[in-house]
Subunit: 153 residues, 2 copies
């Protein structure tokens, strides 16, 4: 559980650095807004994780999350490619949903641990974040299915 | 879409190499069986992707998927740590669910493209795989919540 907490904390920190570039690279205002909202949420998720680390007595730092590093590297190299605005938006959503699903898996695992250890206060904090990650993923699917990809064809 | 197909094809190939090590490292027979079943499914997913690549006229090869490389690296370093059998099983499930969620995000994105391009035959192939990935993820959650993590506390 300690390892998992430190892993996702580092992953969230990497995301706060990646999102501003994704906001800049996106063309659709809906997508830009979704990324901006998620950046604010991510900052809140980091605060929650730091609270949880204190509650559990874990140091709020850890090794670089190699998985998130890989996901962001792919996103970076994609953003460096030349593409129409709408194709780029569709690809950005693809990257962002990989980020969200990494987080959903990671928070899901930690929630299972917290549940079975009877750490209800920790669980409450993490479930709030998990819920926001799932909602962000759904919102991205909606954006992809409504505006962005239609143009990207 | 071409980039996405080549990315997930490479990711699936990396998974076929990682799963035998995960089968060997797992202690619970339920978990071992789940990984064995998923290895067979993954081989089938690769076949389906190769079929889809032919249908779309895309070369069935691509650059190394850095995201999956990162997820598997984390899993490898975790497997090298010393841990009780049940703790190791819980951690293996954590890794495997990250793999599943990467795939769910990736296939989800490609399905959105296929839907909007009206490629129904491609969509049918990919939805079968997406469904199996989601079922594997649910099965892993079940295993985590039932047997493995209770011991890992």
């Amino acid at each position: 559980m300690i390892h998992e907490l430190q892993d996702i904390l580092n992953a969230e920190k990497q995301i706060t650095k990646a999102l501003p570039k994704m906001i800049e690279a996106s063309a659709s205002s809906k997508l830009k807004d979704a990324f901006k909202t998620h950046l604010k949420q991510t900052e809140k998720h980091i605060e929650r994780l730091e609270t949880v680390c204190k509650m559990v007595g874990v140091e709020a730092k850890g090794e670089k999350c190699k998985a998130m590093e890989g996901i962001i590297k792919e996103c970076d190299s994609m953003m460096n490619e030349k593409a129409d605005k709408s194709v780029m938006d569709a690809a950005l959503i693809g990257c962002a949903q990989r980020v969200e699903h990494y987080e959903i898996a990671a928070y899901g695992t930690i929630c299972t641990y917290a549940k079975q250890l009877g750490m209800n206060d920790v669980l409450d904090q993490l479930l709030m974040t998990l819920d926001e990650e799932k909602k962000t993923d759904s919102l991205l699917t909606q954006i992809a299915e409504s505006t962005v990809n239609i143009d990207a064809e």
